[in-house]
């Protein structure tokens, strides 16, 4: 009994301390170093934060180059799909153009009516245009992980990107800045579990919090009033209750899936974003 226990302890000690012929460090030393780094990272001391920002910038730039073969593979796959979808899309688009042409005349009439009514009520459009500063950035890495759904973008503190700014792709909100380094920044996507956006549901005055589940087609609404029944095909707009995001930005839409379950999908596709706009809460066209 004592012998087997001794053997066990010897084997563990050997595994931890023995370096091997070509090993420069023992496992014990490296495990201790890892724990030290995790602890320092948790303490968020100013020197550690600035060191981390430098490491981040360096690694992100190298990672961008290293990700090129993987991106090329995705590009080929996308091109193949695009090719097969083009003909069908073309037919649908022709029909849509016809329908939009007729809608355009209605819109022109409504615009004129709106203008004249505003004039009568003495309302102006000023105030909506303030702070509409948007910075264009390139997506460097869109690595997915079981822990964080995020993007890395090519602009940072140097271009006045700060933590909390909103990120848009093709007119839709896709996330917020959670980490800003000197020349790069990290965007937390709205599909991430940690994302919480105050929204209002189209056609109602109901407020709720939109959270992610990791999937673009399955977002979650929290803090809905008791007994509220959510209907399909409703757009969710930002309510602006966080005091940062502008009111009325379209974020997500309710829909019925194949099994007739009501679900919420993001209007933007964060994984397809290559060029994004970063702004102080308002979307700049």
């Amino acid at each position: 009994m004592a012998d087997s226990r001794d053997d066990f302890i010897i084997a563990i000690r050997y595994a931890l301390l023995k370096k091997g012929t070509k090993q420069k460090f023992s496992l014990f030393f490296l495990i201790s170093l890892s724990i030290l780094i995790i602890t320092l990272d948790k303490l968020s001391l100013p020197i550690v934060s600035s060191t981390r920002a430098v490491i981040n910038d360096l690694v992100y730039e190298v990672a961008y180059i290293a990700a090129t073969p993987g991106k090329f593979l995705s590009y080929l796959n996308k091109k193949k799909k695009d090719h097969f979808n083009t003909v069908n899309k073309n037919k649908i688009l022709i029909e849509e153009i016809e329908s939009l042409k007729s809608d355009r005349y209605d819109n022109l009439y409504l615009k004129t009516e709106n203008y004249s009514l505003r004039k009568v009520l003495d309302l102006s459009n000023e105030g909506y245009k303030k702070d509409e500063i948007s910075i264009k950035a390139r997506v460097i890495i869109d690595r997915d992980s079981p822990y964080l759904k995020s993007l890395l973008v090519s602009k940072g503190r140097k271009q006045n990107i700060i933590k909390g700014m909103s990120v848009f792709s093709k007119g839709y909100l896709i996330g917020t800045i959670i980490e800003s380094n000197y020349i790069t920044a990290r965007v937390l996507l709205i599909t991430d579990l940690n994302s919480k956006i105050p929204v209002v549901i189209e056609g109602t005055n109901t407020n709720a919090i939109l959270g992610g589940t990791g999937k673009k087609t399955d977002l979650r609404l929290d803090y809905l009033p008791d007994g509220f029944i959510l209907e399909p095909n409703k757009i969710l707009y930002t309510s602006g209750k966080d005091g940062f995001l502008a009111i009325g930005l379209p974020v997500a839409e309710t829909y019925l899936d194949k099994k007739n379950n009501l679900r919420i999908k993001s209007l933007a596709d964060p994984r397809q974003a290559s060029i994004i706009n970063i702004s102080k809460g308002q979307f700049n066209k």
Partner: protein
């Protein structure tokens, strides 16, 4: 031997290290590049760590494993040192298995991969829950772990045959 041949030998001998760093830098995660096969993604880094520490420890140093883990953490955006610690725990279990095993058999090593993966992911889980405010995608993590275990034999034979050729060339 000429310079070209020597360079080729050095490159071939260090290929696992190069691949390991590339995987940490790049966005490639198993079959995740193909959206239809997204459910089958796995952690190739863990397979490489387990295989080389078990079979050819002189070809992949612990230092490289540590640094690649740090890079992986920076790219993924999780607390620095989490992946390193997770890989090193895997190394520790693998090293223990190597010392305790008298006769190596693929099936036994494949089964031994389960506790090694379990403790490695457990460490990951502990660090993420205690040292960050990140939430967890349990299903994705379970899928990842399951397919990492499932694809091990394929990579075992692939890496084993490659490494045996390298050992022959270097001999």
């Amino acid at each position: 031997m000429n310079i070209l041949g020597r360079t080729k030998n050095i490159l071939l001998s260090n290929l696992p290290v190069i691949i390991f760093y590339m995987l940490s830098f790049s966005t490639f995660e198993g079959l995740k590049e193909f959206p239809d096969l997204v459910a089958f993604y796995f952690n190739l880094q863990m397979i490489i760590v387990y295989f080389y520490v078990l079979k050819f420890p002189d070809y992949l140093g612990y230092g490289h494993i540590f640094f690649a883990g740090i890079i992986s953490d920076v790219v993924t955006g999780i607390p620095l040192g989490t992946s390193s610690l997770s890989y090193l725990i895997l190394c520790f279990f693998t090293s223990y298995i190597r010392n305790a095993t008298l006769r190596s058999k693929m099936t036994a090593e494949w089964i031994a991969f389960i506790p090694a993966l379990f403790f490695s992911n457990l460490m990951y889980f502990i660090v993420i829950t205690n040292f960050s405010h990140l939430s967890f995608y349990y299903v994705e993590l379970l899928q990842n772990t399951f397919f990492t275990f499932l694809f091990f034999p394929f990579f075992y034979f692939l890496l084993n045959s490659y490494q045996k050729n390298i050992v022959k060339i270097n001999a």
